[in-house]
Amino acid sequence: MTIEFFFFILINGLSEGMILFIVASGLSLVFGVLRVINFAHGSFYMIGAFLAFSLSTLLSGGFLISFLLLMLLVPPAIALLGLGLEIPLFRRIYGKEHLLQLLMTYALLLILDDVCRVIWGGAIRNVARPEILAGSIDFFGQYLPTYNVFILVMGPLIALGLWYLLHRTRAGNLIRAAVSHPDMLGALGVNVAKVMTGTFMLGCWLAGLGGVFMSALANIDLGIGMQKIIECFAVVVIGGLGSIGGALLGSLIIGVGIAFLQLPLSRLAIVFPYIVMALILIIRPWGLFGKPER
């Protein structure tokens, strides 16, 4: 393997990993506060990607401004979709049996995926990269695709933003309090239901953002939602449910792992998330960063 090739695969894996992190951190955050693992999270991501595609056909492509517009418009749209589903559906199942929660989100996945198929059909789509991000940059003699570099910058920025939000703002304090002491938070006069709804919307916003980034990185089709939710499961299993730092590490492991296995053994690459997930669950079920629940 030549060094150029190595770099090429590495940067591909890292950028896939960054997008995975953006999506998975949403799943993890929602689980932390709501204690519901959302099977439909991958569908939110997919809707985000398709919505980006539809919007990009309306906007004149190739300009940075249109892509920025996608980044600004699509994630809030997904967050609103989340709001519309959280209030009538999720609020009714908090604190109920795991099975009912799982099945409700699974039912949502079925509905949303089929709605996507009805709206967008089975064709393979993608969003044109803006011209300024379409080329490649010279990085110490290595030519790296600009768009991947852009994602590699955005990923850590999002991580940093999430950290800032969770640890340095009042909203973040509320979210963290809702994770550790939801009853106490309620007793202190905070509307916990609103905190939950807000967290759910934030999770959906992240899923939508991941979708926008993905739509210009690779081809999108109706399978990406399912694929991403499984990868997200692997990520949160590696990192521990509810841990954002763990999600970052898990995403990079999965993203880079898949990228490097893709070429020599594309068969193994598909199985990779499952194998990692099985190993971690058997050896350390609470993840590398999580704490054992009992």
């Binding site: 693992i37 559906l89 009714r92 199942i93 109920k96 049996e97 795991h98 099975l99 009912l100 799982l102 099945l103 409700m104 699974y106 039912a107 949502l108 996945l109 079925l110 509905i111 995926d113 089929d114 709605v115 198929r117 009805v118 499984i230 499961f233 299993v237 449910l241 068969r267 598909i270 199985v271 499952y274 194998i275 997930m277 099985a278 669950l281 058997i282 079920p285």
Partner: protein
């Protein structure tokens, strides 16, 4: 839940005779059904096929409910054992030329072995983690079948499984029905045995089960293996019905189908999953009959049904029936 169980058991003697008449009438009608359908020509043949599928899937769903309803453990990998049974029959009959009888005995046994291996790892985990690990193992088996072309035929599956001459549609339906009824009786015995009661304790209160000396993990593992056994049998029967085995049988969406059947029928009753599974298959066909294009959005219908059940009738059709017709007794 416990209280309700007790109530229904106590009331059983009172309504036993009426109950028995209904069951016997139902049994007679399902045995006569194929002969009636057989008179209807091609549509009749189609419906015989559908009812056979219903019987097999009822077995699959009931087997899952041993873990799900009675054990309280959500398995998203139950299709793995269905698929293992299916591929056992397919490989034995197609590649080794084994007779159907032998293949149908081997299918549940091989599935039980697979369940023992997978279950050994899975029962160590609880709740969500159990669900994710069963999903993972199921998908690993799916990928294995998908990629091992020389052995499993990959995504082509295995086609043209021989069918013994005497097994016409009617006879095969009767064979499946008899096997299903025998399995149902055996599973009912298991559920009502002291083992079955212990399993329910592990669902209600694993801590207390430990205190009174129940080896929770071992009981759960045994339960998992029993469920895998019957799922394997269902898979084997299904393969022979279709005369092919394909990777879809192992996919987690297949596990999802069985979970939906349990939920829609009512997973806290013994017969609920079988009812749920039949109702869902019937609805699927029914929608197909109304208009072909409606099948393409079947998942939307299914999802909406599920949402309705989860939000408004978490004890399923059986629970709904109890609520409407036995209101006075429940108090």
């Amino acid at each position: 839940m416990n209280l309700k169980d007790k109530n229904t058991r106590m009331l059983k003697s009172k309504s036993e005779s009426k109950h028995r008449v209904v069951v016997i009438a139902f049994l007679i009608s399902v045995f006569i059904l194929p002969f009636v359908l057989n008179q209807l020509g091609r549509t009749g043949e189609f419906w015989i096929w559908v009812t056979t599928e219903m019987v097999i899937m009822a077995l699959f769903a009931t087997s899952l409910n041993l873990i799900l309803g009675f054990g309280g453990m959500v398995s998203f990998g139950h299709a793995a054992f269905f698929g293992v049974g299916a591929y056992t029959v397919a490989l034995l009959m197609k590649k080794a030329g084994a007779p159907l009888g032998l293949a149908l005995v081997a299918a549940p046994c091989v599935a039980a072995v697979a369940a023992a291996i997978i279950g050994w790892f899975c029962v160590r985990l609880i709740g969500l983690y159990f669900a994710i690990l069963t999903l993972t193992f199921g998908q690993l088996l799916y990928m294995l079948a998908f990629q091992w072309y020389t052995f499993t035929g990959g995504d082509d599956g295995i086609h043209g499984i021989p069918k013994p001459a005497f097994l016409g549609p009617v006879n095969y339906y009767l064979l499946c029905l008899i096997i299903f009824l025998v399995c149902l009786l055996v599973m009912r015995m298991i559920v009502n045995s002291s083992f079955g009661l212990s399993i329910r304790i592990t669902r209600e209160n694993p801590e207390r089960a430990k205190f009174i000396g129940i080896n929770v993990r071992r009981y759960q593992l045994i339960n998992f293996v029993i469920a895998g056994f019957f799922a394997g049998l269902a898979g084997g029967l299904f393969t022979e019905l279709n005369r092919f085995a394909q990777t879809e049988f192992l996919h987690w969406s297949k596990s999802g189908d069985a979970i939906f059947a349990c939920l829609v029928g009512g997973m806290y009753s013994f017969i609920g999953p079988a009812i749920g599974s039949s109702v869902l298959i019937f609805l699927h066909i029914f929608i197909q009959q109304i208009h072909q294009s409606l099948v393409e959005i079947w998942a939307i219908f299914l999802g909406l049904i599920l949402l309705g059940v989860v939000l408004f009738a978490p004890e399923g059709l059986v629970g709904l029936y109890d609520k409407i017709f036995k209101k006075s007794r429940a108090s």
